[in-house]
Structure formats: C-alpha cells, structure tokens
C-alpha cells in the first residue's frame, strides 16, 4: 500500500486492522456491503488490491465536519488520485455546504479580485514642481516698463521647461485591506463556483509516479481538466515529482493552502485540492465564520508581514 493511501485511510477509516467496517451514513450502506463481500478485510491489506497498492473499489470515506449546517446537506465529491492516468475513484467524501455550496456572490469575488490587483500597486509617477526644477529663482525682468508680460520666476508652470502644477507626487501606495468578512466570503464563493461548475477535484495526495511533465500533461488531457490547473496542498513542502513535473509548464502551478486566493483560483481553469488541503481550508474558513467578537482587526501596511506568517484567510 502506498504511504499516501495509508495516510488517507488513517484519516478516515476507523480501525484499519480491525474487521469492523467503518462507520458510514445509512444511505450508502448498500455500496459498502458489496464492498465488504468482494474484498475480504484482513490485516494491512484490508481495502487494497494486492500488488497494486491502490484501492480496489470506490470506498465511502467518512469525515467529521465541524460546525455542521443543520438545514443543508453536505455536498459530495469524488476522491481521486494522481497515481495513474485513468481516473480511478478512491471514494466519496462530503464537503461542508457553507463553504462549497454557499451563495456564489460574484460581486464579492470581483471585490476580492480588484483588491488583489490593487493593494500591491505602487504608482511611481512623479513630477517636479516649480520649486524643484533646476534654474534661477531670480525675477527675469522688472515688473514694469518692458512691454512684456510680468513674470516672477523662470520655472513657473506657465513657462516652457517650468515645473508642473498639480502633477502626480512621488511613489504612492494603493494599499488597503478588504474587510475580513469579504475575504472569507470571496473564498467561499469562489470555491462554490469551482465546485458547482465541476472545476474542483479532490485527490488523496500530490504524489505522482514520475517527474516527467508529459505524464502530468497526459493525465490532465485524459481527464479533461482544461488548459490550466492549480494544485493545492496543505503545506509548502510538497512531493518532489509534482514540483519537477509542473516547473517547466507555466499553466500548471502548485500552491500551499496559506497562499490560496481568489485571483489564482479564477486564473486557473481547474482547482485540484488534496484532502489535507480541504481539511485545512474548511478549518480556517469555519474558524473565521464562527469566531466570537469583531472579525476585523486594524490593518496597517506594517502588519501585513505578521499577518501572512500567522494566519491565513
């Protein structure tokens, strides 16, 4: 059994070594009973096909959802794997409806996109005023009696080569912080759109058997994942093969959960999340949705560094 599958099973199935079947919602019990008849659970190879290291049949995996919504059922998604080209399903998992099936607020998504494009902008346009332009500050000619217009300064904005009146002044920062509520809602709305439009795929891990970019290209073409794909893992230390395979291709990118953002999700056609990434995303977003007290902290330009290190929204 591959380590990734082991990891997955230890996450979702109780007592792998035990012969008791995993706790599964009632409506899926039929699927499970066929599963139990066909693959006889014993020892470590309970649910695996011998030799292949992969699961033989689709397996319902159970996941504990925090802050469940009593009125909306959890959404379901296939659990896939990047281990082979053909799309073999490992199981079905449930997703939190407040995150993957919330109202697709396109206006809030737009606010987030605009914020991401704007907050890091620095306008370097600058012009010199009459005081800063080089030149004499002497009165060019007397006030009266020259038959010429009166002037007090050769670098006045009226003169050629003079200073600029009311021009742009110096580097100007466009930094601002979108309210936390809007950022959280933007992520929820984007994840909802991705899920609703079948552009969201959940995989067990980012392990691929080889570091060849062609393998990944073939896999994505076979599964119809479109031109650009964003792979998201929970941590920034990722399997070597996926890094090497995505590196030469500009439109396949990898990202840790703390870097996940609305702009990148929309930029890529398909979003691929690992299970651990899903866990972490849900945990962080639910934390902010159910946090007591005011949601917004005071944001200043200097706080951004610590904000990035400490928390992710």
């Amino acid at each position: 059994m591959l380590p990734s599958v082991n990891r997955l099973l230890s996450l979702f199935v109780r007592d792998i070594g035990n012969t008791t079947r995993p706790h599964i919602p009632l409506r899926f019990s039929r699927t499970l009973s066929t599963l139990n008849q066909e693959s006889q659970p014993a020892g470590d190879n309970v649910l695996g096909e011998e030799g292949t290291g992969r699961l033989s049949l689709p397996l319902m995996t159970e996941r504990e959802i925090k802050h469940p919504n009593p009125y909306i059922k959890p959404r379901l998604a296939w659990l896939e794997t990047l281990g082979q080209i053909e799309n073999k399903k490992l199981g079905i998992i449930n997703l939190h409806p407040d995150i993957f099936a919330t109202f697709p607020r396109l206006d809030i998504i737009h606010n987030n996109v605009l914020w991401q494009q704007t907050y890091r902008r620095i306008d370097y346009a600058t012009t010199k005023t009459r005081a800063e332009v080089q030149g004499s500050k002497k009165k060019p000619w007397p006030q009266k009696g020259q038959n010429k217009a009166r002037h007090g300064h050769r670098r006045s904005p009226l003169w050629k080569g003079g200073g600029v009146a009311k021009g742009p002044r110096g580097p100007r920062s466009y930094f601002f912080m979108l309210p936390t509520g809007k950022r959280v809602m933007g992520l929820r709305a984007t994840l909802t759109c991705k899920y609703a439009q079948d552009n969201l795929h959940i995989v067990d891990s980012l392990d691929i058997p080889q570091d060849d970019p062609e393998y990944l290209q073939e896999l994505i073409e076979h599964r119809n994942w479109g031109l650009s794909v964003l792979f998201v893992d929970d941590d920034d230390i990722m399997p070597e093969n996926i890094i090497l395979a995505t590196d030469p291709i500009g439109h396949f990118n990898v990202m840790p959960v703390y870097g996940l953002n609305v702009y990148s999700m929309l930029k890529h056609e398909t979003l691929v999340l690992t299970l651990r990434a899903v866990e972490k995303i849900e945990e962080r977003l639910l934390h902010f949705m159910h946090k007591p007290g005011p949601l917004n902290q005071k944001w200043q330009a200097g706080n951004v560094g610590s904000f990035r290190r400490k928390s992710w929204v």
Partner: protein
C-alpha cells in the same frame, strides 16, 4: 411542491449552466454612485447647486442653536439641577442574569471558575469602554426566575434581586470597585500585558462610593464577612428561599485582595506573553509599595 429550492440552491443551479467564472467575467453590483456637483467644460464655473452668494455658498453659518438674535432655546429654559455634572457621572453598562445564564449554557463562560470583569469582556458578549466613564458591570435582575447556575461572580454594581438570585442557587456575589487604570487592564488583558508595564495596584473607592462598597447589603468587598453572612440570611428571609447547604467548594471561596486586579496575579508583576514568563519585582522599595496592603494602611 417538489421544486422548493432555496435561493442558494437556485443560484448554484444557475451558475452550473453558465460559462466558467473567470477574472474577466465577474463584476461588481452596479451602483449609481454620487455625481460631482461641479459640471464640466463651459459649465465648470456654475453655481454647483449652492445658490447665489452668501452663507449658503461660503459655508459660514452661525453657531449651532443660534436663532438669528432671539434668546436661543438652550438658554431660554431654566437649568435642570439633577443634570449637574452629568458628564462626570460614573456609568455601569448592564448585564442581566438572563444573558449570564445564556452565556453559561452556551459554554461562553465557564461557571466552574470565578467570574469577573475580565471573563465577561473576553466573551465579547459584554462591551464597556473605560474612556466613556464606564466603571464596570451592573448585574441586573432580568431573568431572575430562569437563573440556575451556581457561580462565584464579582461585579461592580448589583441590584438586590440579582444578589438574591445568585445566592438562592448557592452562589457567591461580591461588588468590587476598580479604578480606571485597573479597568483598562481587566477589559483587555492581552493588550495590557503587551504594554509590558506592571499590573497596577488597585486603588480604593473614592469617597462617594466608599459607603456602597463597605455595605454588607451590597456584598461590598470592603465590608465585614460576618455581617455579610447575616445579610445573606436576612435576604433569604425577605425573598423566601432557604440558603442551600453547599458542599465545600474551593472555587466559591476565592476572592481577590482589595489591591489585586487579576486572579492568580499580584500587583507589581509583569507578564511577558512572548517568552511566557512572569517577572516579579525584587527591589525592596518597589516590593514594599506593591505589598502595602489595606490592613497595613488602617493600622
């Protein structure tokens, strides 16, 4: 009525049929926005809706309340004596027994620990601002019949019925004064500790509050414990309940020293949250200042 979808469900179904949501096709809700009063081109020098000359255009209006030469209203009526010094009066934002019970039921307050102002403010269900002359919490009797918890609570002001409600459940209530500096520390301890200053030595109540806090009827923290015991019994007789016999409970016996601000921390200590250490004063003079207890003063 098979197709009773919620708005969310409808929207998601609509999104499914639409092209992929991308950077280029999302837009904000349209709003008209505010148009500039100044028009453009040859109309740039117009009046901009401000009329012709005078106060309206120059914005040099008379002062607030001015009635064009008449005696203004605020001077015409006589003074109300009971409003004298209203801007100096102490305020106690209320928190009811009902709210307290609800917070306990929702696990926002742990009733197995003594409850003080720091606990209440930490729930974010209760807000107070020291700068608005808020001097702490007033425990009100709303929810008298619903109150169930057995607690050890410290408030700044309490009504008689609120005291009766807490005591009829076997709980303990104390009224306690904090000076503004100590209040600031209590309301937001983390911000206070980050300042890196020692925990203040709480001041005694001012003259006008001394009576309140040394009265056993109010369960004042400066009153005689024996008299409080007597008053507890008298209040139970008045409200018609018998004081429950509570088994020995260390939590219920916990009280702060009159000079103490936080449970478990003494005045003069500095709490360093980053290194997770507590720094205690060593200098004998400083130590003496902070250890200068109430008893020593009265001798």
């Amino acid at each position: 009525m098979a197709n009773m979808w919620s708005g969310v469900e409808k929207a998601i179904r609509m999104i499914k049929k639409m092209p992929r949501v991308q950077i280029t096709n999302v837009k904000d809700n349209t709003s008209k926005g505010r148009k500039s009063k100044m028009r453009r081109g040859q109309h740039g020098g117009d009046k901009c809706g401000r009329g012709n000359k005078g106060q309206g255009q120059r914005n040099n209006r008379p002062r607030l309340g001015f009635e064009g030469g008449n005696s203004p209203f605020y001077l015409r009526i006589p003074k109300e004596p009971y409003y004298k010094g209203h801007f100096l009066k102490k305020e106690y934002p209320p928190f009811s027994l009902l709210q307290l019970q609800r917070a306990i039921d929702l696990y926002r307050i742990d009733d197995s620990q003594p409850i003080d102002l720091a606990v209440l403010c930490n729930t974010k269900l209760y807000q107070m601002d020291v700068d608005l002359r808020h001097y702490g919490v007033h425990l009100t009797e709303e929810g008298f019949d619903l109150f169930q918890a057995q607690i050890n609570i410290e408030v700044q002001w309490a009504s008689e019925a609120a005291i009766a409600a807490v005591e009829s459940r076997g709980g303990v209530i104390t009224t306690r004064f904090y000076d503004p500096e100590s209040l600031r520390a209590l309301v937001n301890p983390v911000t206070f500790f980050k300042r890196g200053v020692p925990i203040p030595r709480c001041k005694l109540p001012p003259m006008e509050l001394l009576d309140y806090y040394s009265d056993p009827k109010n369960r004042g923290y400066l009153s005689d414990p024996d008299l409080i015991k007597k008053e507890r019994f008298e209040l139970s007789q008045k409200y018609g309940y018998s004081l429950p016999e509570v088994p020995y409970n260390e939590m219920l016996l916990l009280r702060k020293d009159p000079r103490q601000v936080f449970y478990g921390l003494q005045p003069g200590w500095v709490v360093n949250l980053r290194d997770r250490v507590i720094l205690k004063p060593k200098d004998p003079e400083i130590k003496q200042y902070y250890e200068d207890r109430l008893e020593a003063k009265s001798v």
